[in-house]
Symmetry: C2
């Protein structure tokens, strides 16, 4: 059991700032009181401890307050990605069997037509119902659920528990350190673990979240240069824009600024060199939805000599390489620790997430002689584009649903801005134009998943057992 | 399960300094390799995982290495207090049923005559036996055992597990913060939780322990002033000496120095004011053997306005007041959290330590309106003298064993140097001089427990049920 984080944080440091958004600020006491009020209002909608809801909203304080309200009440939160198509959202809402979908007014048009929802304003304006406070949280209780795909192309709802989030936040603090005046800039999506985990750290550390609705390079660079923030999470494309802006405007990182935590694949060495000149520390990290954020990090000091590495595990985490004779040979990266999900919900609920306590990531990598992890191939040919994960099978499944398509294969293509973008290879069974296939995809896929190019081909590269070899698609690209 | 801390720390930060002693230094890699070597040597004495040994040694690197060797091997460590009498040590060694007593050459004369022991040098010079590494530690495994008395006067062996120590260290970091270059000055006894917990933090944080064999005010003040250390644990009497020295020599705390963690009762306001003038932050703490160190702390900022308070609980800890109508009324302080011992060994092994998860401390206190804890009366009339706990019943039991003593009652007397010192009230059944009773005590009690005064009296103050009222002894003193 753990004390209710919101109540405990408000008790311990009531007057510290827990959240800021432009000029607005909330102390932890105010956040807690808001969370209690929202919990009382949710009770008016018959939403209680153990129930599951889905949230769809922009990254604004209302979303944070709604999340804290759900946590206060012990309601499981399915975080919906606002960039997904209605078709994709429909799948997640149905699979999660949520009791309600809570949606911000401005995003309700993103929902599939036949989904019932409750607007944020309806919740905020409801008359609250008096309820009993939840004083302690079970370590195994689910706080959040995020969907992630895999080999099948069917997204799986990953449970992230009280223990997962607390151990992740703790391991991160043991690694990065912790100052009383830390402020973590959150401009990555809250519906991804990169953003959500900042909220969890805030509650456990008593640390301010500096929230942006969208990535704003001008504001971001200014706050780093003035030391108004001390930490930031970013993907490479954001980092590059911050670097360019700071270079152009002659800005340097303030000595109070500790580091940028950069996820979603290795940061190009060129960026690291430029960051160094700006006195900006970059900590690279390897993590995933199933590990509730970071599982390994590469410190700023090691960044150059270990370029391309994801670093070493955090203290309570273990990483091992399976399927190779020794860890320094390539094999599957397996992860163990209190930050690893206990499993899935919905159609994958019965599929064990772990093998004797170990999460088999599907990612291929190795450990060097000193134990630094190198990730050399992503699970299920995962494409990471501007920090968003794209699974080829998801796009292939959509293409195969088109009546003209006989076979489809998707792979990632290097892109100077986004890191990678998806490209599709298609074998037709009857005539169809690329535009037609693309508009078919648009109806069903988030825009960042749309193939940047559709290439018609006579046959797809397959192996002896007739399985698609996506690696060979990449060769065809060159 | 947790990864073996020694192995994990050596893997993650092999080249960071983990221990220093005067000019000597050990990296975490060196500490780990030493620990493995000692574990192999202990195996030569048939000491293995799950066995229990007792340690008696001065606070020197050999003791730290021996502790780490035992931890590496999964051997439970009973930490013997070198200030105890042979009589007291005998009790603990027997009660703990240890498989071996490991003693440093210089302290072997402290042991009771008939106790078999293994000298540190014998271990260090032994030929090691190759053993299999213990890769993971069970959260419930006992790392250390420390004896503490109570109402009965019979010391109880308190188990401190992997979970207890890790959660204590984590909660402390969430509260005090953590810097990569933190160095914790350890000049409090390793056989007390105040010292032992510094070692645990070192392994979990990757932090240097700056070890002193004895408290050395000159060195200590110099290292604080030069910023060579950043944290220090102290009791009030040590703090006062540091303050005096720094005042006399015109020293100020270095900006790198974070704070002194002061335990063993509230720090006099006068000390706090003097510390402020020296830019020395003092964090007061309330903790005990059963909570593996701190359970509540009072931050430096709050020290003045909340003088006399022990502060608020650490994040994962809960404190409640029982036996009163509301928490702001006096009652028994009860503590819950992952840092609380699961129980005792030896003769108290079957006595449950917890009541529905709560440790009933026996201490009397209250929470003010803002939730700050005030400890107003210690359990079992506990006397804290220079950081050492003295239980009146222990001294009374010894006095009662003297043939001339009919009744005995002990209480604490305020002392400007030690905070408190014990004083005994004795009802004689036949003639005896105070000196005779004192030398009788000397044979059986640690010197810090010896009554500073023996007062002969006709009868002891008792209540209706004929129970000794020690509070009234204090009144007799005035």
């Amino acid at each position: 059991m753990q004390p209710n984080w919101l109540a405990q944080r408000s008790y311990l440091t009531p007057n510290r700032i827990g959240l800021s958004y432009y000029q607005e600020k909330w102390t932890f006491k105010e956040l807690y009181e808001e969370a209690v009020r929202i919990a009382e209002k949710l009770a008016a909608f018959h939403l209680h401890k153990g129930d599951r809801i889905a949230l769809l909203a922009p990254s604004r304080p209302e979303l944070i307050l709604m999340i804290y309200g759900c946590m206060e009440r012990g309601i499981e939160i399915v975080l919906l990605n606002g960039r997904l198509s209605p078709y994709e959202l429909q799948y997640q809402i149905q699979d999660a069997e949520v009791k309600a979908v809570l949606v911000h007014e401005e995003e309700k048009q993103k929902l599939p037509e036949d989904v019932e929802y409750i607007l944020f304003t309806e919740v905020f304006h409801a008359e609250g119902v008096e309820i009993e406070a939840v004083e302690e949280w079970d370590d195994e209780a689910t706080i959040s659920i995020m969907y992630t795909s895999g080999t099948t192309g069917f997204p799986k709802g990953v449970r992230q528990t009280v223990r997962n989030h607390s151990s992740s936040a703790i391991s991160s603090a043991l690694n990065l350190g912790l100052k009383e005046d830390d402020v973590w800039l959150c401009t990555v999506p809250i519906f991804h673990i990169s953003g959500f985990s900042i909220l969890m750290r805030s509650l456990l550390y008593g640390m301010q979240v500096r929230l942006y609705e969208k990535f704003d390079v001008t504001l971001c660079a200014a706050e780093i240069a003035q030391g108004l923030v001390t930490r930031m999470s970013a993907v490479a494309v954001m980092l590059e824009r911050v670097l360019s802006y700071m270079e152009e405007h002659g800005l340097k990182a303030h000595p109070n600024f500790s580091s940028i935590l950069a996820g979603g694949g290795p940061v190009p060495v060129d960026y690291l060199k430029r960051a160094e000149r700006l006195q900006l520390q970059v900590v690279q990290t390897y993590g995933m939805t199933e590990t509730s954020s970071q599982t390994a990090t590469l410190s700023s000091e090691d960044a150059m000599q270990k370029a391309g590495s994801a670093g070493k595990p955090l203290f309570f985490n273990q990483i091992r390489i399976e399927g190779s004779k020794k860890p320094t040979d390539e094999g599957e990266i397996c992860i163990r620790g209190p930050h690893v999900t206990p499993g899935y919900i919905g159609r994958f609920a019965t599929r064990p997430a772990l093998d004797a306590g170990w999460l088999k990531t599907g990612d291929i990598g190795y450990l060097d002689e000193e134990g630094y992890l190198y990730v050399i191939d992503r699970r299920a040919d995962l494409i990471i584009s501007g920090g968003e994960n794209i699974y080829p099978a998801e796009i292939e499944n959509v293409l195969l649903a088109h009546p003209a398509v006989k076979e489809a294969g998707v792979c990632g293509m290097d892109d100077s801005v986004w890191g990678q973008v998806p490209v599709a290879f298609v074998v037709l069974k009857k005539e169809a134009a690329a535009e037609e296939l693309l508009s078919f995809c648009k109806m069903r896929l988030a825009s960042y998943k749309l193939p940047k190019n559709i290439i018609f081909i006579d046959e797809l590269p397959r192996n002896g057992s007739n399985k698609l070899v996506r690696r060979k698609l990449k060769e065809l690209l060159q």
